[in-house]
């Protein structure tokens, strides 16, 4: 691609400029991807180098440390005790004791079962006296995987704490050597609301995120490599086990697979395409129409601004499961709209809002507009009011009409400011479970795509498909995991490309 200097660029015609910018954008994508890979590579390299450094540091600490330090390698917190930092010592030691106790009592057991995910499922035995069958539960793959993962988390935490313990000794030695005093327990406690206040504040939220977000995600990613489903779970006669990359093969291979006469990959492709179309339309229809409504309400000379705004905002307050379910039923074949239109004699046949693929797709987008405009109206109102009035004044003096003012001032300004919002809104819409599930549940059924992985509809998004797989007849959790990972890959890819290519999305400090 030819690169133009600024002055050369200015000589281009409007069309040429557009083409130039467009090519620049798309030529930027490979570079962005390349940068991404380089970044990932350097991250990995950095991680290994860091581990190497840490090990080196541990060794040198041991070599150069005094006997207190050396003992701390085995008995955590010993150095702290010996140097009078009682609180730290107690915490370190306590952690070590708990860790070792846990590993002996439970952790080792779970860890040893992790590679096989259990051997013996539940068994059933006949009790002749009572003429009944008695069930005995043995291994439970689910629990093995869950507690195995937890144990690994715990081990990592222990290694980290051990490392901190070693480092502490080194630092303490240095401080003492330079003739200064160490901080006592009181100082440690006090620092929790001062120097280390951030750690105190983050402790609780991060624990929650680790246990209830990170651990489950790790777990579900692992499930993608097993055959965990309704018939293979912790309670069923068949335990589940590792299957390697089979599930990815199933989803991505072009042959065989899904029952509806087409492969999983084709089904996945169809749903992904619609998901992207939906996300795009849902984002931008809401954006522009919301902006339009906001501009109407904010126009000079329009009265009762507050009332108009309140009417729209009120709809935000009502839980979606009520409004969407109700509206969904309203448009149903035997719903209010069809029935009253037929009563009025305007139509002979009910309109196929949810029966015809195209109708259904248009309907969900239309109703999504109904749901989304109030939010967008609020968001854009704030930004619109922030556009400096003198921009418009100077434009009017330059002879711009209302449309030109919108095109040349309002829109660029809005797009620049809301760039990040549009991105999050796009990815949010990709995962917009509520609107689709409550309105159509994915209907109407797409015959070609339906089959072993449950019935797939024309309005199904990846996220609703994932839900259907999970709760469907076969409860194919493993497939749901693979789809979930795919959703992640798609969202991450789009976000990264946009982040790297769009100029207006810079790092957060620019907004501060």
């Amino acid at each position: 691609m030819k690169h133009y200097s600024d002055l050369e660029f200015l000589r281009l015609s409007k069309g040429q400029r557009f083409v130039y910018k467009l090519t620049a954008f798309f030529c930027g994508i490979p570079r962005a991807i390349g940068r991404l890979f380089i970044k990932i590579w350097s991250l990995i390299k950095g991680a290994f180098l860091a581990i190497g450094r840490e090990i080196g540091d541990v060794c040198s600490t041991f070599k150069n440390g005094d006997w207190k330090t050396k003992t701390s390698f085995l008995v955590m917190g010993f150095g702290s005790f010996a140097r009078g930092q009682i609180l730290r010592g107690v915490l370190f030691l306590l952690f070590e004791v708990v860790f070792i106790g846990y590993m002996f009592i439970a952790g080792g057991h779970w860890l040893s079962l992790l590679p096989s995910l259990g051997k013996e499922g539940p068994s059933s035995e006949y009790n002749a006296v009572l003429d009944t069958y008695v069930t005995a539960y043995h291994d439970n793959s689910f629990k093995i995987l869950l507690y195995g993962v937890l144990t690994i988390f715990f081990i990592i935490a222990f290694i980290y704490t051990w490392r901190v313990n070693v480092k502490q000794n080194k630092i303490s030695e240095q401080i003492l050597k330079s003739g200064k005093k160490l901080k006592g327990s009181k100082d440690d406690l006090r620092s929790m609301v001062d120097e280390n206040f951030h750690a105190t504040l983050l402790a609780l939220p991060m624990t929650g995120i680790m246990v209830f977000t990170v651990m489950p995600i790790v777990f579900m990613v692992l499930v993608a490599f097993t055959n965990y489903d309704g018939a293979h779970n912790g309670f069923s006669n068949n335990l589940f086990t590792w299957v390697g990359l089979d599930n990815f093969n199933t989803l991505l291979s072009w042959s065989g697979g899904n029952g509806g006469g087409q492969s999983y990959s084709a089904t996945f492709g169809e749903i992904l395409t619609w998901t992207l179309i939906w996300a795009f339309l849902a984002t931008f229809t809401n954006y522009f129409l919301g902006m339009g409504v906001a501009m109407m309400i904010n126009k000079k000379g329009i009265r009762l601004k507050k009332m108009w705004r309140t009417i729209l905002v009120m709809t935000v307050a009502i839980p979606q499961f009520i409004s969407l379910l109700y509206v969904g039923k309203m448009f149903a074949r035997n719903g209010l709209i069809n029935l009253s239109l037929m009563d009025l004699g305007w139509i002979k046949q009910p309109l196929p809002f949810w029966e015809d693929p195209t109708w259904a797709r248009i309907s969900v987008i239309a109703i999504n507009i109904w749901v989304g405009i109030p939010y967008l109206m609020l968001i854009t109102t704030g930004i619109l009011m922030n556009i400096p009035a003198d921009l418009y004044e100077s434009a009017r003096i330059d002879g711009a009409n209302a449309w030109q003012q919108y095109r040349k001032i309002t829109l660029p300004y809005m797009l620049f400011i809301t760039g990040p919002y549009l991105l999050t809104s796009f990815t949010g819409n990709m995962n917009n479970f509520n609107v689709i599930y409550l309105l159509t549940g994915g209907a109407p059924t797409n015959p070609a795509a339906s089959g072993a992985a449950g019935s797939v509809g024309y309005t199904d998004l990846l996220i609703t498909w994932l839900f259907k797989i999970t709760t469907g007849a076969e409860s194919q959790y493993y497939l749901a995991s693979v789809v979930g990972i795919m959703v992640f890959v798609v969202v991450a890819f789009i976000s990264l490309v946009v982040y790297n290519v769009l100029p207006s999305i810079k790092n957060e400090e620019d907004y501060q």
Partner: protein, 495 residues
């Protein structure tokens, strides 16, 4: 015949009594039990449990929590987490094999199995059975569908003909509700033309094969019948009580009886399904007849398990079933209860009984079949009604079934025998059973010298032994044996 039956019944009662007589002292006790029943049946179930508490002579006291969980949800919930599931739960029979696989149903002891076999109608007994064993107690045998109609639109003389009914509805601008985009309903057309679709399970409840001929000449006739209805503008894909919203005919079951009676009032009409005509022949639309079952969760405590089985037997006995008929019109599975006056006087149950002549007991069905078979309707609807187009739709159905079946691990991993064996000619896979790595054909086949075959895995050629076809040298009757570890194939003469 009837006498013999009574004797058998008495004998089995005696047998079970004797078993329990010795055990009754051990069963005595108080048990906390969770029961999942459909919303409507919650109160009745509570009172029936009370009745059990006061009437049983074994000293069992059940402390029951009855939660409203629909039959459809019960199975999914149990599979999600058996440990948190109910001890006793109502479920629809098609969920049986899923539930067995998920270990959510306890196998019935001999006494209980005898109770099930002796008291209930043949179809419902079949529904509770997987392989040789019984896993649940029949509650109702009314899970079928028939036709409600608005007498002011459809005159009584037309109710036997689908074509006439469609014409009536079209003339009146009223809809015909028939949830054909649901395999449970659209299969009725195929059964009406003599098609069948059966899934075969092994003793553990795993599906091992399907026997299905929807894609046949008879199936084509059925597809034409479906097309007749779905191509009409008055067709509505719904199984709801739609009379208030423009329908004059609704195909549904007993559960909508009360609502529809209220909606139609004097114009209430109910009948078995009509016939449709193709090429001059009449075909009466068939249906599934299904049961609702009461399942018992596997118990770790033998005594509680025995007590729960007692309770389950009580809840599914004749009196309790009749009570349900009286209270909410559920059709009983109990053979004696069917004869009861309360059942006979219910018009919906009468229509169901008439339809039952054309109904097929719902077998255990692989969960994904429903999703595949319901597509037939959408596909048929999308055609122009020509034979070729309808055939294509049926062919797609068949392909889908085959593909799904291959999807199950059991099939994907199983070896089958294929070749010129047992009267086949490289077109039919013959089943083999594994013991460790050693796979043996299920049957011994007569083989002539020169008979050729291979053992292949997952009905595909990716893994097949031996590399070149196995050629039989000496004629005889052999089992075929394969060592999957080494790939060695050998013949074992039948004893």
């Amino acid at each position: 015949m009837k006498k013999l039956f009574a004797i058998l019944l008495a004998l089995s009662m005696l047998l079970s009594m004797s078993v329990f007589a010795s055990a009754s002292s051990e069963i005595a006790g108080t048990y906390d039990v969770t029961i999942w029943a459909p919303d409507a049946a919650v109160d009745l179930t509570k009172s029936q449990v009370e009745a059990f508490n006061s009437s049983n002579e074994m000293g069992i006291v059940i402390n029951a929590t009855v939660e409203p969980v629909s039959e459809a949800d019960a199975a999914s919930n149990m599979i999600l987490d058996v440990s948190a599931g109910a001890d006793l739960y109502f479920f629809a029979q098609d969920q049986l094999s899923r539930l067995i696989q998920a270990n959510a149903l306890t196998k019935l002891g001999q006494g209980a199995a005898a109770f099930v076999k002796d008291n209930n109608s043949a179809g419902s007994v079949l529904a509770a059975q997987a392989g040789e064993d019984y896993y649940a107690y029949p509650l109702t045998a009314d899970n079928g569908y028939f036709m409600y109609y608005d007498k002011s639109v459809v005159p009584e003389e037309d109710v036997d003909s689908l074509e006439a009914i469609i014409a009536d509805c079209e003339a009146a601008g009223k809809n015909f509700s028939f949830e054909l985009e649901n395999a449970w309903y659209n299969a009725g057309f195929f059964f009406g033309t003599g098609c069948h679709s059966d899934w075969i399970t092994d003793d553990a409840g795993n599906f091992i094969a399907i026997d299905d001929d929807f894609n046949s000449d008879a199936g084509l006739i059925a597809a034409k019948g479906i097309y007749k209805l779905v191509s009409s503008p008055i067709y509505v894909n719904s199984g709801n009580a739609d009379f208030a919203s423009g329908s004059a005919v609704v195909v549904t079951g007993t559960w909508n009886y009360a609502t529809i009676l209220e909606q139609l009032g004097d114009n209430f009409g109910v009948a078995d399904l009509p016939s449709f005509e193709v090429d001059g022949a009449e075909y009466h639309i068939g249906s599934y007849s299904g049961c609702k079952l009461l399942g018992v969760k596997p118990q770790e405590d033998a005594v509680k398990g025995a007590a729960l089985n007692q309770l389950a037997q009580f809840l599914t006995n004749k009196d309790c079933q009749i009570q349900r008929t009286v209270e909410f019109g559920w059709g009983p599975a109990n053979k004696e209860a069917v004869q009861d006056e309360a059942v006979a006087s219910n018009p919906a149950l009468t229509a169901l009984a008439e339809q039952s002549n054309y109904a097929i007991p719902q077998p255990n069905i692989h969960g994904s079949w429903w999703d595949i078979a319901k597509v037939i309707t959408t596909d048929v609807k999308a055609t122009d009604g020509s034979d070729d187009a309808l055939k294509a739709a049926l062919q797609k159905y068949e392909d889908s079934i085959a593909a799904v079946f291959e999807m199950t691990d059991e099939v994907r991993n199983a070896f089958t025998l294929i070749g010129t064996v047992g009267g086949t000619n490289w077109d039919t896979d013959l089943p083999m059973t594994a013991e460790g790595d050693i796979w043996t054909s299920n049957e011994a086949y007569e083989m002539e010298a020169g008979t050729e075959f291979k053992c292949r895995q997952g009905k595909a050629w990716d893994t097949a032994y031996p590399a070149d076809n196995f050629v039989v040298e000496t004629a005889g009757t052999y089992y075929v044996q394969l060592d999957a570890a080494s790939g060695e194939v050998s013949l074992v003469p039948a004893a």
